[in-house]
Structure formats: C-alpha cells, structure tokens
Subunit: 410 residues, 2 copies
C-alpha cells in the first residue's frame, strides 16, 4: 500500500525549523542549549503534539514524540539531531528529526494506532560545534556513555562548561544518567547523504549498510626554524616540506585505494607561520575513514609507515597522537533487507552504500538494531549553508522510512 | 698593521644592548619606537660619546655617531638596524650597529683623526616586526624612499599608525623627508650570516658579493569545501591536496636548482581549518630568492608554471598576487676587493658568498657604494633567541670592517 507523505507539510517544517538560528540566506547556526536551539526544540514539540504524539523531554535535552502501540514491548524509533554546524544548512540532522515525526504522523493518520510503540526523536547534540568533545552528546546519554561529572569538566569554544550551558536552559547535569534507555528495539535514521554519490548515480535515496570507521590522528612534525633566505635548501629540516610530502602521499594513498576509502587533511597549524621563516613546527590532523575494518587498519598502517618514512628521511621529529577512533558500524542486515523491501513496495529506486560520515546511529547501535536512509544531496554539499536536498527526494526518503516502520510496527 | 679590537668591550656591548627588550634567556624583543628601543638607542648614543663620536639623531629616528675627517667630502658609513624580530636574538642588526661604532672607536684610538669622515649608524627599523610593511624604514628614509604621508597610513599589528608610534617617542612624522642624505660615499654593513654556510665551510667571516633578489607571492587556491567522510576522493576539488603538491614541487624545484636558490613556504591559512572538512580555500605565501637576476626570473617562471599546472589539473581556481619584489643587489666590486685585501692584511680567512637575506645595504645602494661582511652564525640560526655568534668570530669580522674603513678613510 502506498504511503502518502505531504510534500507541502515537509517543506513547511524544513523552512520553519530553519528560521531558528537562521544564518545568511539559507544557513543555520544552532548549537546545543542555545536560545535558537530552545526555539527549535519547542517548535518540534508543538509539531509532535499536532501529530498526536505524546511529548517527553529527557534529562540531557533530547525530545521524544511517542505513539504508544497496543502490544507494548520495545520501541521502534526514528530521528536525528537538532544542532548544526557553525553555520550548517537546514537539512543535516534537522531533516532526520523531522522525518521521524512526519513518518509516524503519516502512519497514524493512514493506519491508526500501531501494535508496537513508535517514537520520533530529536537528539540535542551531535556536531560538537559548541563543545569540541561532545559529539553524539544526545545519543551518548541514551546509551549510557556519558561519564558522571563529564558535563562539569567539558569546556566549549567560548570557555563555558556543558553543565553551565545545560543549567542555562533548565536542565540538571547531575541527572544526565536518567536519559539512559534499554527499551528501544530498532533505530532508523534518515539523513542527507552529505556526498555526491547518489547524485552521480542518479538515485534519490540510499539504504545505508554501514557507517564508516574513522580515526583522527594529530601529527606534529618538528624541524628547525630558520631564515628563509640565508639557509640553503640542502641543509634545511623544513617541517612544511615534510608536511607537503606527507599530505600528498596520504591523499594519493586513499585515492588509489578507491572508494569508499577517504583521507582528509583539513586542519594545519604552522609555527611561527611567517612568510620569511622556515617553520619550526607543523601540526596537522589526518582524518582517515573506511567502513571495512580490515581495509581501514591496512590504510592506517600504510599512512603511518609513509609519514614515519618521510620524517626520517627529512630529519624531522614526528609524533603521532590518536585523537579519535570509531570502529565501522554495520547496519543490521535484517533492517537493510526490510528497507529494500519497503522501497520496492513504495516504488522508490534505492542505492546501497556506506556512510562516510559519523551519525548518532553508531551510538544507538549499542542498545538497538540500526539502519539508515540517505537522501540525495545537491552537489554533495554539507556543513555549509549551500546544503540542499529537493522536497521530492526527501518525500521519497520519508516514504521508505515510513514503510519500513509500518512493516515493523503494524 | 694589525687593528686591535677589544673582545671584552665587544662582549660587554652585545650583552648590555641585549638587556633592552630582553626576552627569555637569550632573546630580544625590541620593535621600533618602543620603550626598549628608546633605551637601546640612548645606550648607543652614550657609547658613541664614549668613543669620541658626535651624536646626531635624524628625523626618522636613525642615530649617527660622526667622526669628522680632516679633508671633508662624502662619508664612509657603517652600521645596521636596532630593531629585532618578536623575539629575535642579540645579534641580528644590533651587532652591525655596534660593529660600526666599535670599528670607528678603535680606528680613532689607534690612528687618530681620519682624512675622510667616518660615521657609525643605528638604523631605527629594518625587520617590519611592528608594522607589516615598514621594512627598511630607517634606511628607506635616508635614501628618500618614504612617500610623504606614508607614516600616517601604515598600520601596525596592534593597529596603531607609524606616525602615532613616532610621536610617542618625540619624532614628527611630517619631517621624515629631512632624513634624506646625499653625502654618503660608502656604506659597509656587518651582519650575522643567519645561515650555516660559513659554519659548514669552516670560515669565521665572509665578504658578501651580492644580496639576493626576493619575491613574495600570495597564492590562493579555491576548491570546493566538503564533508571529509561523505565526499569520495575522486570527486574532490581539495585545495589542501593542491597546496601539498605545489609546496612539494616548488621546494624540490629550488633544491634541484642548487645553492643559492631558495624557496620557502612559511605561511599558510586554511579556511575553515577544521579536521573533518575538506577545505574550501588555502592561501599561502611563496618566498623565492636568487642573487642572479636571470636565474631568479627563470625560477619564478618554473614556479608559476608548476602552480598553474597543478591547479588546472585539480580543478582549483588559482590567484597569484605579488606582495613584494626586490631585485638582487650586487656589492660594489671595488669594495669587495678592498675587503678581501683588508682581511688578508689582518690575517682573517674569509669566504665570499651572497646574502640570502635582505639588508639595509640594499636601500643604501641607491645613494652609496655598498658591501657587507658576514660573521659566522652558530647552527645557522637567526630570527630566534637561539641565534649566536662567538666573540672570537665577531672580533675577526670587526677587524676586517675596521681595516677596510682604514684603507678608505686614512
């Protein structure tokens, strides 16, 4: 049976939600626990009410819209995060939170009360755009991964603690532990792709079979600071030369390994960073990802060997510090099949792919079966105000999501 | 006849001058028109008086110690700059100012009044460490290259104008033009090498036959900012990848051209400079130098062709803006020969080389014959508090300088 999703409602929700923290023409700047975030969460709660869902706010600030099932048991949940990059666009996170709400609202309207309990969720935080180390803060609380007292010690870019920020919006950081849940059976997350693969392949929607594994390494190359004119090339220990060779090598390495291997060097700090001084130190972060665990480790081994080889040959001291490591997170195979079936029944052409970005689903996988749905991104853009997905594609994605939830809950 | 330079006096002057703006154990942080700079200039004036020189301060803040010759005519001048990097060491600039003063003082003591007028000079500014575009400020004023009103418009790193800084130490910026001179015949500048060539070659001192030509280009690579995980390598337009390839290529190019070609990339700015974002823009400065004008132009042509080729192949927009261009400045051949003769007579082994750094002598060449003397730098270090030259080497250098001035003035 065809599941109907109202495109006008979808568009209205996306545009309206984007006004909370609107930035420039199409951007959104909405960090967790900010006034804009409070406004968006209140709006989301009001829409949950409109859809006939019972609103519940947990102790960390996640917002749940619940449609009780007649048979009880563990819940089928769908949603994503309400916070954004600084600035991000209207779709990253927000679209998934809305998709859960819209899908459940549509199912209720079309099919009435489900057997299994359905819940929409807007996670409070995922992007770590206010606090450098809080990423997945909302879903981490749900799976019990936030250590007691952590909110009091984690500081933001503006030097405030998470705890202070929570108190400013009426939340008690001592009660974060109460957000933990053990009654979720399935978590489905719809998200914009944030890449160009669907666009290039001509698909509106994808079923995501895994979330990539990721490692961040901070690499410091220490050479000898010298005068840019007076020091001959052949005697230099120039960490910028080492950096350039390493960056080229790592990027080429990932490129040659082929999709879905990726390696990015997006952050660099040079000391002293003056035009006429051979730098003394260059520090950079290597972000390298692969959804296949064995290939991921192989890539890291190649990267490390290359970096150490360049440093040794150039007489540079190298230190490699691991900042972050998340194993790949495969989707539940049964859910992947279910979503394919749902898409086929709804007449939606879907691609199957891994996610190169991290998502709350990785956290939720600790307590529930998970899978994701991707919606095509224009030009693959994200984390920018140019981010865009068409309402047509979004409706297709929500129809697949709703059809999947229908099979699980009715 | 052996010219005697008192090593204890030399060491005392260096150490004492280094107390004005002392930074850390051995550094000096003394920008133009600062209280530390005023203190150092006053100390220099006092020592000029001790040596029997007449002190004169000009309208831009240069300080002159004059020993009138019996026959008049144009002056034989030696000195260097009193300002430092932030922080620099005790030797860069300061040593040359002291060398002129010590040499003339020693000549007066040993040989009495000269025929030709001798002058020691401490230039007010050379490093552009307080104002990004004032470099050679002191010597530029002497040769008449500061445009009227420039002091009112040039702003410093701390946003003050040069004019305000001048007024704060009692100088009238409207009178800068009065610093111009046309009565200097010869300018000799002693300076630390700031490189490792003398140390590697086993020479205490060098006669400098040219100051290298230098060009600074600001290069901007514009790609497409994207998510570090979701965007496949083969579809990226990553300006960091382009930068890495360009930096490697330019550095290799200069290296392969051999001494004295140098190319440095010391400054880079990445936008947005986040670990998980493929950057949208990378901006960097290429500092490339060669003392032979034809080879210099050939190097720039190769650099530019390479940069444009990489950008085109990677689909990056490239803009190349010239920030600075100084032609190479050959020393006066007669003075080079004279300094070699002087060194031989004083029993000092000297090397002959080009300067890879810029110096006030380049400016002075507009109104006078110029040549330079280099003193060996420990480990080739400069623009750092670790900068060091031994008193033994310094004394040898001053003896060559004094012997040269003796031949010219007595």
């Amino acid at each position: 049976m065809r599941i109907e999703i109202d495109p006008e409602l979808v568009e209205h929700y996306i545009m309206k939600l984007g006004t909370f923290g609107a930035y420039g023409d199409t951007g959104v700047w909405r960090v967790v626990y900010s006034p804009e975030w409070v406004g968006a969460m209140d709006q989301y709660a009001a829409w949950c009410g409109d859809a006939g869902l019972t609103v519940r706010r947990d102790t960390v600030g996640n917002l749940w819209g619940v449609l009780k099932g007649t048979e009880g048991g563990k819940s089928i949940v769908s949603g994503s995060h309400m916070d954004t990059q600084r600035p991000g666009g209207r779709y990253d996170g927000a679209l998934g939170a809305l998709a859960g709400l819209i899908a459940i609202g549509a199912l209720k309207k079309q099919f009435g009360t489900p057997k299994r309990t359905l819940e929409a969720v807007a996670f409070c935080e995922e992007e770590s755009s206010r606090f450098p180390t809080t990423n997945f803060w909302g879903s981490s609380a749900i799976v019990g991964r936030i250590k007691p007292g952590a909110a009091e010690t984690i500081k933001g870019y503006a030097d405030e603690t998470v705890a202070d920020a929570m108190r400013s919006v009426g939340l008690d950081p001592a009660r974060i532990g109460e957000s933990r849940r053990d009654d979720i059976d399935t978590f489905l997350e719809l998200h914009v792709e944030q890449g160009p693969i669907l666009e290039h392949g001509g698909y509106p929607v994808a079923v995501v079979d895994a979330i990539t594994g990721i490692r961040h390494k901070k690499v410091t190359l220490k050479g000898v600071q010298n005068h840019a004119g007076a020091f001959p090339m052949d005697l230099r220990k120039d960490p910028m030369a080492g950096f350039a060779e390493i960056a080229s090598g790592l990027i080429d390495n990932a490129h040659r390994m082929g999709r879905p291997a990726v390696t990015t060097i997006g952050r660099i700090a040079v000391d002293p960073n003056f035009p006429s001084v051979v730098p003394g130190n260059v520090e950079f972060v290597v972000d390298a990802r692969h959804p296949n665990e064995a290939v991921r480790q192989e890539m890291y081994a190649r990267h490390d060997a290359f970096m150490r080889g360049v440093a040794a040959r150039r007489g540079l001291d190298i230190t490699i510090e691991q900042l972050l490591d998340h194993a790949a997170c495969p989707s539940d195979p049964g859910l992947v099949k279910l979503l394919h079936r749902a898409a086929e029944k709804q007449g939606v052409r879907v691609f199957q792919m891994a996610s190169g970005a991290g998502h709350d689903s990785q956290q939720m996988a600790a307590i529930a079966k998970v899978a994701m749905i991707f919606v095509r991104s224009k030009d693959g853009r994200s984390h920018t105000q140019e981010e865009f997905s068409s309402i047509e594609d979004i409706v297709q994605g929500i129809r697949v999501l709703a059809a999947g939830m229908h099979e699980l809950a009715y």
